[in-house]
C-alpha cells in the first residue's frame, strides 16, 4: 500500500461566473402558472408540489448569498486527500475538538445529501457547551463523485471500495486508529459494511445509524405466502377487510406505535416512493445528464426527496437550497447517481441478506429512529446486526436527521460515546 498523501487544505470558493450562471438559470427557468390537475396544487400525491417549488425558488433568488454560503462552509477546515491507487481525490471536512482525547467521528452522508448535511452538528460535537460531555474530532467526507470528491472514472466502484477508502482516510491519512462511525442513507450502508468487515471493524468502536434498511426474511415469507392465496379467495366480500384487521391486530401486538408507523412508511415507499431508485439503478446517466446543468430541475427532483423524507415542521428549505447549490456548482449530479447502478448488488444484499453483514467485531451499535424516515427498523430487526446497545425513538425529525433534529442527533452520539467508547 503506497503511503497516504498528506491532505491539502481547501478553501471553498465558487467562481463568480458559475454562481451568476446558476442564479440566472434559477430566475429564468419557467414554471407553469397552474399545476396540471387541480388536486396537485394542494397535495404531494403526484410528487413535487408546484406552489411549494415556486416558493422555494423565490427564496433561493431572494436569500441565497454565495458569500454567506462559503462562510458557512469554511467555518470548518476542508481538505483533499489524494488516493492515487484508487484514482480518487477525496474531499473531507476535518473539525478538531480542542480536547486532545476527543473521539474521532466519521459522519457519512447519502443521496441527495452531502457533507453539508452535518453543518448544524459539527460545532456541538466538537465543542460541547457542557464540559463533561464527550467531544469529537469530526471527519465528514464527500462520497467520491459528490461535491468536491472526484469521481474515479472506473467502470466498477462500489460502496465496499468507498468503505475501504474511508477507513484508510481515518487510520492512515489522519492517524485515527480507533474511531466512531455515524451514517444515514448510503452512509448507513457504508457504515454497516465497515462494521461487518473483519479488517475494518476492530477499529470501529462505536457505530450509529439513523436508518437500518433491511427487509426481514419474515416479510419475504409473508409476501411469498400472499402470492399463493388463490385469487378467488381475495374476491370474497370482506376478505380484504379481514386480512387488514388481522394484520393491524398482529402489528399492534408485535410492534410499538412508532415501529408500526415506520413499517407503514416503508410499505408506502415501496409502493410510490422509490421510482427514483429504479431509475437511478438502471439508467443513471439519463437523469444525470438531464439535470446536471439545471438548478431548478435539481430543486424539483432533489426537493421531492427532501420534502418527502423530512419532518415538515422542521425542514429548513435553506438547507435544501444550499444542498442543491452545492450539487450544481460542483457539477456532480450525474456522478452522484452512479452509486445506484454500481452498488446495486451490494445494496440489495445489505437489504435482503442482512445476515451476511453482521458485526465482525465488538462494535457498540446505536440506532435512532425518526418519524419521517423511510421506514423504521423494529428492535428485533436491528439486534440482528450485532451488539446493539442503544435504540432510540424520537418524536420529530426525518431522513436528514442532522438537519431536522440536530439536538437529538448530537445527544444520541454523546450518550453512545459516554457509555461505550472507553473500554
Amino acid at each position: 500500500m503506497p503511503p497516504a498523501s498528506p491532505p491539502r487544505l481547501l478553501r471553498i470558493s465558487f467562481a463568480q461566473a458559475d454562481v451568476e450562471r446558476m442564479m440566472t438559470l434559477v430566475e429564468n427557468t419557467m414554471l407553469p402558472e397552474e399545476p396540471p390537475f387541480p388536486e396537485a396544487s394542494s397535495t404531494w400525491t403526484s410528487g413535487m408540489n408546484l406552489p411549494w417549488l415556486k416558493t422555494v425558488r423565490e427564496q433561493w433568488l431572494r436569500e441565497f448569498s454565495v458569500d454567506e454560503f462559503e462562510r458557512k462552509l469554511n467555518l470548518w477546515p476542508h481538505y483533499m486527500a489524494l488516493f492515487d491507487d484508487e484514482n480518487v481525490d477525496l474531499h473531507f471536512v476535518h473539525a478538531k475538538s480542542s480536547k486532545p482525547d476527543a473521539i474521532p467521528l466519521l459522519l457519512l452522508h447519502g443521496w441527495p445529501g452531502s457533507s453539508h448535511d452535518f453543518h448544524k452538528v459539527v460545532e456541538p460535537l466538537t465543542n460541547p457547551s457542557n464540559p463533561t460531555a464527550p467531544s469529537f474530532h469530526v471527519v465528514v467526507p464527500s462520497i467520491p463523485g459528490y461535491a468536491f470528491s472526484t469521481w474515479p472514472h472506473r467502470p466498477s466502484f462500489t460502496i465496499v471500495d468507498i468503505s475501504n477508502l474511508y477507513h484508510r482516510l481515518m487510520a492512515e491519512t489522519l492517524g485515527y486508529n480507533n474511531y466512531a462511525v455515524q451514517g444515514g442513507d448510503w452512509g448507513s450502508l457504508i457504515a454497516r459494511i465497515m462494521v461487518s468487515s473483519p479488517k475494518i471493524a476492530p477499529h470501529v468502536r462505536i457505530a450509529h445509524l439513523n436508518i437500518y434498511s433491511v427487509v426481514p426474511t419474515s416479510a419475504q415469507v409473508i409476501q411469498a405466502l400472499q402470492a399463493l392465496v388463490p385469487s378467488f379467495l381475495s374476491c370474497i366480500p370482506g376478505y380484504t377487510t379481514l386480512v387488514n384487521l388481522l394484520s393491524s391486530t398482529l402489528n399492534s401486538l408485535l410492534f410499538t406505535p412508532a415501529e408500526q408507523r415506520g413499517i407503514a412508511s416503508a410499505v408506502a415507499y415501496g409502493r410510490t416512493g422509490n421510482g427514483y431508485f429504479h431509475l437511478q439503478s438502471t439508467k443513471p446517466l439519463t437523469i444525470g445528464y438531464a439535470l446536471v446543468d439545471s438548478p431548478v430541475g435539481l430543486l424539483a427532483y432533489m426537493g421531492d426527496k427532501f420534502y418527502d423524507w423530512s419532518d415538515p415542521a422542521h425542514l429548513d428549505t435553506r438547507d435544501l437550497i444550499e444542498t442543491v447549490a452545492l450539487y450544481y456548482l460542483t457539477r456532480s449530479f450525474h456522478t452522484s447517481v452512479l452509486a445506484y447502478q454500481l452498488s446495486h448488488e451490494v445494496a440489495m444484499s445489505l437489504v435482503f441478506q442482512p445476515g451476511q453483514w453482521t458485526a465482525a467485531a465488538g462494535t457498540a451499535i446505536g440506532y435512532s429512529s425518526y418519524p419521517y424516515e423511510i421506514g423504521i427498523a423494529p428492535r428485533m430487526l436491528v439486534r440482528g446486526m450485532g451488539r446493539v446497545v442503544m435504540y432510540k425513538e424520537h418524536s420529530y425529525g426525518g431522513h436528514f436527521a442532522a438537519l431536522d433534529n440536530p439536538t437529538a442527533f448530537v445527544k444520541d452520539l454523546r450518550e453512545l460515546a459516554a457509555g461505550h467508547w472507553a473500554q
Binding site: 387541480p38 413535487m48 409502493r271 421510482g275 427514483y276 439503478s281 439508467k283 439545471s294 435539481l298 450525474h334
Partner: protein
C-alpha cells in the same frame, strides 16, 4: 363548420415564436465533457454522452420552420368534447368506400410519428383477396393528439385521463364529430394501442377492425410459452428475450412517471436538454438500430420539440400516473370484429401470435424485421402494407 353539436375548427401549427428561446437554452446548456464510465459508451447506463451530444448539436441547427411547414401541409383541426380540446389531423381519401381509420400514438410519441403513413393510405391501392380477386383499398385517416399531449388539452379530471375515457372521446370524435357513423377502423401503438383496445372493446357496433402493436394485458415470458407448449417464430422469440432484458433495466422512467409525475415533469418542463435526454433514450432504446429503420434523429427532434414548445411534457407524464395499472389479466373481447397485429422486431414489448389470438378474432399477424416501437416512422411501408392488407380484406362497414 359544425357537425351536430360539435364545432370543428381548422388548426395551424404555429410555434415559431417559442423557438429562439429553445435554441438559446440549448446553446447555453453545458454537458459533461466526458462519460464518467470509461468504456461505458453503451445504453446500459442510459443515454450515452455521444448520443445526447449528437442530438443536441443537430437540434441547434434544426430548422423548426421547415418541419412546421411540413406538418402544416396536412390538414389539422380541433374540437371540444367533454370539456377537452382534441387536436387531430384529418385527411380524406376522396374515394368512395374509403375506410375511416383513426391512428393513436403513445408516449413519448406524437401525431407526427404517424404522418409518413397518411398520404400512402389515402391512395387507392390494389390488394389481392384470399380468393384471388383484386380489390382497391383506400382510407380516410384521423390522427389525434392524446389528451394532455401537444395540442390536445388535458381533461379537467383524473378520471377523464383514464384509457376508457379517452376511448369514449375517440368514439365520439369518429362517430359523431366526424360523422363516421357506419363503422370505422382503429390502429395504435403504445398508449395509443391500449386506448384503441378499450375503444375496440367498448364500441363493437362502431369499431369494425383494429390493427394494434400492444395490448392492456400482462405480457408473457419464455417460461410461460414453454408451459403452454408453444413454438415461436424467430422474431417472436427475439422479442421475448429483448423484453426480459428490458423489464429488468428499462422501467425506471415508468416507475417515476407513474408515482411522481410532478417531480420529473417539473424537473424537465423548461429543460430542453433534459427532455432530449429523457425522451431521446426511449427513441434509441426501442427503435431499429441496424440502420435499416427509417426513424431519423430529425424525427426524434421534432417529437421532443413538440413536447417542449407546447409546454406539454409535464402534462404528458400524467398519462402514467393516472393509469398506474394499465395491464389486466387477459380476456377475450366481446367485439367479434377482426384484430390484426404487427410484430416489429425492435419494439419494446412483444406478443406471440398464439397469445394474441386469445384476446379477439386475430386474423392477421405479421413479423417485421424492420422497425420498432414507432412503426409509423421506422417502417411506414410495413405499417401501410399491413393496414391495407388486413383491413382491405377484413373490414366491412356496418350492414
Amino acid at each position: 363548420m359544425a357537425s351536430g353539436k360539435y364545432t370543428i375548427k381548422p388548426f395551424k401549427v404555429d410555434l415559431s415564436a417559442e423557438v429562439p428561446r429553445l435554441k438559446a437554452q440549448l446553446a447555453a446548456t453545458q454537458l459533461p465533457t466526458h462519460n464518467p464510465i470509461p468504456g461505458g459508451e453503451d445504453e446500459k447506463w442510459g443515454i450515452t454522452l455521444a448520443q445526447l451530444t449528437k442530438l443536441r448539436d443537430e437540434w441547434l441547427v434544426y430548422d423548426w420552420g421547415a418541419e412546421q411547414e411540413r406538418i402544416n401541409s396536412y390538414k389539422h383541426f380541433t374540437t371540444e368534447i367533454d370539456g377537452t380540446t382534441i387536436h387531430f389531423v384529418h385527411e380524406k381519401s376522396g374515394i368512395d368506400g374509403a375506410i375511416p381509420l383513426i391512428i393513436t400514438h403513445g408516449w413519448p410519441g406524437s401525431f407526427d410519428e404517424y404522418l409518413p403513413v397518411v398520404r400512402p393510405l389515402l391512395q387507392s391501392a390494389e390488394i389481392t383477396l384470399p380468393d384471388g380477386r383484386k380489390k382497391k383499398v383506400s382510407f380516410d385517416v384521423v390522427i389525434p393528439s392524446l389528451p394532455g399531449f401537444v395540442f390536445s388539452s388535458a381533461p379537467p379530471t383524473v378520471e377523464g385521463r383514464s384509457l376508457k375515457s379517452t376511448a369514449k372521446l375517440w368514439n365520439t370524435l369518429m362517430a359523431e364529430v366526424l360523422g363516421y357513423s357506419n363503422g370505422y377502423a382503429i390502429a395504435g401503438s403504445d398508449w395509443g394501442a391500449l386506448i384503441s383496445w378499450h375503444l375496440f372493446d367498448l364500441f363493437p357496433e362502431n369499431v369494425r377492425g383494429a390493427y394494434l402493436t400492444m395490448f392492456p394485458f400482462a405480457p408473457i415470458d419464455s417460461a410461460q410459452v414453454a408451459k403452454d407448449n408453444q413454438t415461436l417464430s424467430e422474431i417472436e422469440r427475439f422479442g421475448l428475450d429483448k423484453m426480459a432484458e428490458r423489464g429488468a433495466s428499462g422501467m425506471g422512467y415508468f416507475a417515476e412517471q407513474s408515482t411522481k409525475p410532478d417531480t420529473i415533469g417539473l424537473a424537465l418542463q423548461d429543460n430542453a436538454i433534459g427532455q432530449l435526454a429523457w425522451i431521446g433514450e426511449k427513441f434509441y432504446g426501442a427503435s431499429d438500430p441496424t440502420g435499416n429503420g427509417e426513424l431519423t434523429t430529425k424525427d426524434i427532434l421534432t417529437g421532443v420539440s413538440l413536447y417542449f414548445l407546447t409546454k406539454s411534457f409535464l402534462s404528458s407524464v400524467f398519462q402514467y400516473a393516472h393509469n398506474p395499472s394499465p395491464f389486466e389479466a387477459p380476456r377475450k373481447s366481446d367485439n367479434s370484429a377482426p384484430l390484426g397485429y404487427g410484430n416489429f422486431k425492435w419494439d419494446a414489448i412483444h406478443w406471440p401470435r398464439y397469445y394474441v389470438s386469445q384476446f379477439a378474432n386475430l386474423v392477421f399477424y405479421r413479423d417485421h424485421e424492420k422497425g420498432g416501437h414507432f412503426p409509423g416512422s421506422d417502417n411506414p411501408a410495413g405499417f401501410v402494407d399491413d393496414v391495407r392488407e388486413f383491413l382491405g380484406v377484413h373490414f366491412a362497414f356496418r350492414p
